[in-house]
Amino acid sequence: MSRISGQAGATAARGRSLGWFGVGIRLPLTAGAVVVLAVALSGNSYDLRILTFAGVYALLVIGYQFIFGYAGALSLAQGAFFGVGAYVTGILGSQLGWPFLVTFPLSILLPAILAVVIAAPVLKLETHYFALATLGVGQVVLLLAINWESVTGGANGLPGVPGVRLLFWDVPKGLPMLTFVWALVAGGAGLAWQITRGLYGRAFEVMRENTFAAMSVGIDIAKLRFVALVMSALYAGAAGALYVHTIRIISTETLEFPIMVAVLTMAVVGGRARIAGAIVGAIILIHLPEWFRFLDEYYLIAYGLAALFMIIVAPYGLVGALERLRQRVWPEPPPVAPAPLAPPARRRAVSRDEGPLLAVRELNKAFGGIIAADNLEFDIARGDIVGLIGPNGSGKTTLVNLITGIYRADKGKILLGGKPISGLPAHKIARRGIARTFQNINLVDDMSALDNVAVASGQAEGFGFRRALTTLGPDKALKRARGVAMHFLGVLGVADEALKNCRELPYGIKRRVEIARALALGPEILILDEPAAGLNEEEQADLANRLRRLADDGLTLFVIEHNMPFLMPLAKTMICLDYGRLIAAGTPQEIAKHPGVIEAYLGPPDED
C-alpha cells in the first residue's frame, strides 16, 4: 500500500502530462496483457476456454478488491453475488430465451439489490462476525437454489443457457468469447482504477487501516463500506453472467463455497487492494491446476502446495513482489515533495455570534458502574486556550471522545456555536469543525505523512464516489490537497518528513504530523490529547510556540495534558476533572492553588 501513495506522490510532483495514468499497475497490467495475447494467438480451444474462465474470475476478484481489499472487510458473500448473477442469466436465458443485452444488466442489478438489502444489518458487524454473517447469506441463497426446484432446477440445475448475443451477432466460442470477456475485464479494471486512484482511494485506505483516524478526518466509514459492498456485488453479478454464458449450464456449483475460497485465494496471492493483483491472481490460480495436470490424481495436491508457497514467499502478493523486483532492477527516481499551497479561506460552519464556541451541558457517561462523566458543565470561549487536567482515570479522554462523537453520552448536550452536536456521528462532528489528536497516535503507518494529512485537507475539496467517477485526467483535487497538506506540515515544522511513511517516523514527528492533519481540516477548535507526551524539552518548547501562534491566528485550543511545565504557560484557562466531575475552573494560577486540585493529585491532607 505504501507503494501506491509513494509513487503517486512522486508522479504528482513530476507533473508529467501522462504521469498520472496507470500509476502502480502499469507493469503488471502490461505483463498480464502479454500473457493473454500470447495464449490467445497460439493456444488451442482448450487453452482459450481456460483463459476465458480466468477472465471471468479476474472480473469477480476485481470486484472483491473493493470490499476485501479497499474496505478491508472479510466478506464471504462474493460467491453468493456471483451465483445470483449466474442464476439470473441462467434462468432467464435458458427458460425464457431472453437475450444477453437484457439479462446481463439484470444479472448485475440483482446482486447489487441483494447487497443493498443485506447491507444494513451486516455492515455494522465487525471482522469475523461480518465474515460469518456474509457467509450465512451465501448459504441461505444456496439452500434456496437447491430447494426451489421449479425455478432453479434444484440440485441438477438447468441446461441450455445461450451464448452471448450482441444484437445480431452471436459471439462464437473460442477467441471471440475470450476477447469479449477480457474486454470487459479491461473495462472493469479501468473503472475500478478510476474510482480508487485519487483522494477517494486514499480515504478507503485510511478507513481500512485506522478507523479512528478515518473518523477524525471526517470520513463516513459506513458509506464507504456500503459503496464497497455494492460495487463488489455489481462486478460479481457481471462475472456470474459471463460464467454461465461460457459453460452454458446453470447449477448450484456457482453458489458453493469453493468459488468463494478461490476468490479469496486469488485476491491474497495476487495482491490485496490491487487491481493488477486481482488479474494476476486469477490467471495464475486458474492455470495452476492445468500446469500440474501431468501429476494426474495428485495435481490438486500440488495446487494447494503451490498456493501455500506463494503466500509464504510473496507477502504483498505476486504484484507486490513484481513491483519490488522492478524497483530493484529499474528504480524510479526518488519522489519530490509538492510545493506548499495556502489553504482555502476557512469555511465558517459555525456562526460568529457572541456566546461560547463550545458549550457542554449536564454531560453524563457511565461504563458499567464507573462514572466517567458526572454532570459536566463548562464553556470554551472563542480564541481561548483551555487546559484540561486531572489524575489518571479522571475521565479526560472520555470527555474528548464524547465531544468528538466516538462515544455517545448517556445524558446531556454539547453545543458548537450554539448548535447541538451530541448524537451526531464522529465524522460529521469532525466536518462541523472539531478536530482532534489522539493520546495513542492514530496515523496510517503504511502511508506517507503527506497523504495522511492530504486526506484531511481533501475534505475541503469534497471528494466522493461521483467525484471520483467524473475526474478526468490527473486528480487535481488530490494535487491541491497535497499542496495544502505540505503547508500544514510546514506549520508544524515537519515538511522535510512529508514523503516518509509514518511507520518510519520518530514519535515526536508523528505527534506533529497528527496535529498537522487535524489543522488541515480547517477546524474551529482543535482538541489535543496529551500533545507533549514523549517529547523532549526542546521539542515541547517548540510545540508550545507553534500552538501559541495558531491561537494568535484565532484558533481555539483545548489541550489535555499532564505535563504542567508545558501546560501552565500555554493555557489561558484551565479546568480540572476528578472521577468524572469538574472540580475546578479558572486561570492556571488559580488552579495551581486550588485545594481540590491539590487533593485530587496528592490525596487528602493529613489529619494532624
Binding site: Y129, L132, G136, Q139, V140, T265, R272, I301, L305, I311
Partner: protein
C-alpha cells in the same frame, strides 16, 4: 419418546461438533488466526481411524489414544507449514495458508482412500440399548461420554495446571508471556498439537455414524465457525453452546420440519443473534481506546 431419542442423538452430534469448535477456538485464541483447515483435520482424523481399524481390528475406544497421539504430531507439522512461516503477517495470510493446506489434505485423502464415504468402527459396540421403552444408540451414548471427558479434561488442564496457565498467558498477551519467560513458540506449537488432537477425536467419533469422506471438512469448518461466532469469538463455553445449538437444529428441528428448512432457520437464527448481540452470546464488547 421420539423427542428424547432425538435429543440424545442431537447431544451426541453436538458433542462431536463441540470438539471441532474447541480446536478452532484454541488456535484462534493462541494466534488470533482462523484455522480454516480445522474441518479437514477432522476429516484426516476420520481417515486415520479408518486406516488404523483396518490394520488392528479393535473397538474405537482402543484406537482413540492412538489417533489422538498421531494427530497431535500431525498438528505440529501442520503448524510448521501453515502458521510459523506467517506468524508476523496479517492474520488473513494464515486464513489462506490453512485453506491451501486444507486443499492438500482433501486431495491427499482422495488419492489415498478414494472419494467414497468410509466408516470407522464404533467406540464400543454398535446397536442399541433398551431402557424400558427407550431405544438409545450405544454409539451416541458413548460419544457423549467420551466427548464430555475430553472437554472436561481440557478445561481442567487450562484451569488447574501450570502448562494450562502458560497456554492461557500466551493466548492473552503474547509479548507479556514472552517477557515473563514463557516459551511462546512452543506454547503455540502445543496449541496446534492439541487442536489437531481434538480434531482427531472428533474425526473418530463422527466417522462411525456419519461416515468420513474427503470433502466433509468444508462443511464442518462452516459449522465450527458458526458455533464460535454464535458463542462469542474466542469464548470456550460459547463454542460448546454454539455447537449444541447447531446440532439441535440439524437433528431435532429437521426431524419435524425438513432439513433444508431447518438449515435455513439456523442461518436466520444466526443472523438474528448477530443483529441483536453483535458480540455473540458469550462474547464481551471490546472497545479499543481512542
Amino acid at each position: 419418546m421420539l423427542l428424547l431419542q432425538l435429543l440424545i442423538n442431537g447431544v451426541a452430534l453436538g458433542a462431536a461438533y463441540a470438539l471441532v469448535a474447541l480446536g478452532f477456538v484454541l488456535i484462534l485464541n493462541a494466534t488470533s488466526a482462523v484455522n480454516f483447515a480445522q474441518g479437514d483435520l477432522v476429516m484426516v482424523g476420520g481417515f486415520v481411524s479408518v486406516a488404523a481399524a483396518g490394520l488392528i481390528p479393535v473397538p474405537g475406544i482402543v484406537l482413540l489414544p492412538l489417533v489422538v497421539i498421531f494427530m497431535a504430531v500431525f498438528g505440529l507439522g501442520f503448524s510448521l507449514l501453515a502458521y510459523f512461516p506467517l506468524k508476523s503477517r496479517p492474520t488473513v495470510s494464515v486464513f489462506i495458508s490453512t485453506i491451501a493446506l486444507g486443499i492438500v489434505f482433501q486431495n491427499g485423502a482422495n488419492a489415498l482412500f478414494g472419494p467414497e464415504p468410509r466408516v470407522a468402527p464404533p467406540l464400543i459396540t454398535g446397536g442399541t440399548l433398551k431402557l424400558g421403552e427407550f431405544i438409545i444408540s450405544r454409539q451416541s451414548l458413548s460419544i457423549i461420554v467420551v466427548a464430555a471427558i475430553l472437554i472436561a479434561a481440557q478445561h481442567l488442564m487450562f484451569a488447574k495446571t501450570q502448562f494450562g496457565r502458560r497456554l492461557r498467558a500466551t493466548a492473552q498477551n503474547r509479548r507479556m508471556a514472552q517477557a515473563v519467560g514463557i516459551p511462546v513458540n512452543w506454547m503455540i506449537a502445543a496449541t496446534f498439537a492439541m487442536a489437531a488432537a481434538l480434531a482427531g477425536a472428533a474425526g473418530l467419533l463422527l466417522a462411525n455414524q456419519h461416515f468420513v469422506s474427503p470433502t466433509e471438512g468444508s462443511d464442518l469448518i462452516i459449522k465450527a465457525y458458526i458455533a464460535v461466532v454464535i458463542g462469542g469469538w474466542g469464548s470456550v463455553p460459547g463454542a460448546v453452546v454454539g455447537a449444541m445449538l447447531i446440532a439441535m437444529f440439524e437433528v431435532i428441528l429437521s426431524a419435524y420440519i425438513s432439513y433444508p428448512l431447518a438449515t435455513g432457520l439456523l442461518y436466520a437464527t444466526l443472523l438474528a443473534i448477530l443483529f441483536f448481540r453483535p458480540q455473540g452470546l458469550f462474547g464481551e464488547i471490546l472497545q479499543k481506546r481512542a
